[in-house]
């Protein structure tokens, strides 16, 4: 899975492109720690190109959200595909994390 980052209105936008499975989750976990320790307190995962998420992927998003919450920051996700949305709904992640349909709405809510 690839990640691309950019900043807009004080929000670190991370585009997730590909499959968030076990190996990708390990890599993403390390990146999240680096971003947070570098001072990024508001992180938005743009999931428009995320085609798949496994349990490992869910865990890394949960750990990331917990880490950011501890730093008094905010984390959100946007543009979930239909199958990622299904996983979020079945697991209840849709209720515990901030999820938006739209990138602009997400940025507005976070900034």
């Amino acid at each position: 899975m690839e990640t691309r980052t950019k900043e807009e209105a004080g929000v670190l936008i991370v585009e997730l492109d590909g499959r968030l499975n076990s190996p990708a989750s390990s890599q993403l976990e390390k990146k999240i720690k680096v971003w947070v320790s570098s001072g990024s307190q508001t992180v938005l995962f743009d999931c428009g190109s995320l085609s798949y998420i496994s349990s490992a992927g869910l865990r890394v998003l949960l750990s990331g959200a917990k880490l950011i919450q501890k730093q008094k920051g905010q984390m959100a996700l946007c543009r979930l595909s239909a199958n990622v949305q299904e996983v979020f709904e079945v697991s209840g992640f849709i209720d515990i994390l901030n999820v938006y349909d739209d990138l602009d709405k997400a940025i507005t809510a976070l900034s």
Binding site: N21, S22, P23, S26, Y52, I53, S54, S55, A56, L58, R59, L62, S63, A65, K66, Q69, E86, V87, V90, S91, G92, F93, D95, I96
Partner: protein
């Protein structure tokens, strides 16, 4: 750090008498099977999605029941979480024995044999170092009585504890009523935990059905 089978067994033991709480055999079997799978998942040996359980890395961990399960999973592919719960539930007695031995080795429990009716020997495991158990309980309480985002390890232990009915023993009726929604919210967050709950529910439901009076 304790393995999940050890944490669950520790929560189920009465501190003073060292006896296990009485819970349904199938609840304990599925919870122990689930605890092994969840440990393997957090060790990045397996992964899962809504349809299947996937092998990620077959390198042994060095803990017998986990490595046993991992070797089984490495031999067969393309099964879902429920399949592996059923397969591992058969070995729940071994998983429990290893968890008890592990806790004794770590100096948390003491292995004692007591005489019942002055004739039959019974093994009991009184707690000799309560700090590990307290730590597990504190983690659980912190998650249940706040809206903090739980750590994945806390999600697992809450899911397994609920499957074993532990909360009715460690929470008052009022606390349980107050936290029921939060327990349900947190335990859903782990897909393996969901499969454990469903497996137990299916057995409970089939028993209720079997006990219904049948038409002649």
């Amino acid at each position: 750090m304790l393995r999940f089978p050890e944490e669950i067994i520790l929560l189920l033991l009465d501190d003073a008498s060292g006896k296990m709480a009485k819970i349904n055999d199938w609840s304990l079997r599925y919870a122990l099977a689930g605890s092994v799978l969840m440990d393997l998942a957090l060790e990045d040996r397996i992964d899962s999605d809504l349809e299947s359980l996937l092998l990620v890395d077959k390198t042994p961990i060095g803990y017998k029941s986990l490595d046993f399960a991992l070797a089984m999973i490495a031999k067969e592919e393309n099964h879902d979480v429920r399949y592996w719960l059923e397969k591992l539930a058969v070995h729940a007695d071994d998983i429990k024995e290893q968890a008890l031995s592990g806790l004794v080795e770590k100096g948390i429990l003491e292995h004692r044999e007591e005489l019942l009716l002055w004739v039959f020997k019974s093994r009991v495991y009184p707690v000799i170092d309560g700090s590990a158990e307290q730590e597990v309980k504190l983690r659980i309480m912190e998650v249940l009585f706040s809206d903090i985002i739980p750590d994945p390890r806390d999600v697992v232990i809450i899911s397994l504890a609920d499957a074993c009915g532990i909360f009715s023993a460690i929470l008052s009726e009022r606390e349980l009523e107050h936290s029921r929604g939060r327990i349900d919210q947190v335990r859903r967050l782990d897909l393996i935990g969901q499969a454990v709950s469903r497996a137990i529910w299916d057995i409970d439901a089939s028993l209720v059905y079997a006990m219904q009076p049948q038409g002649l």
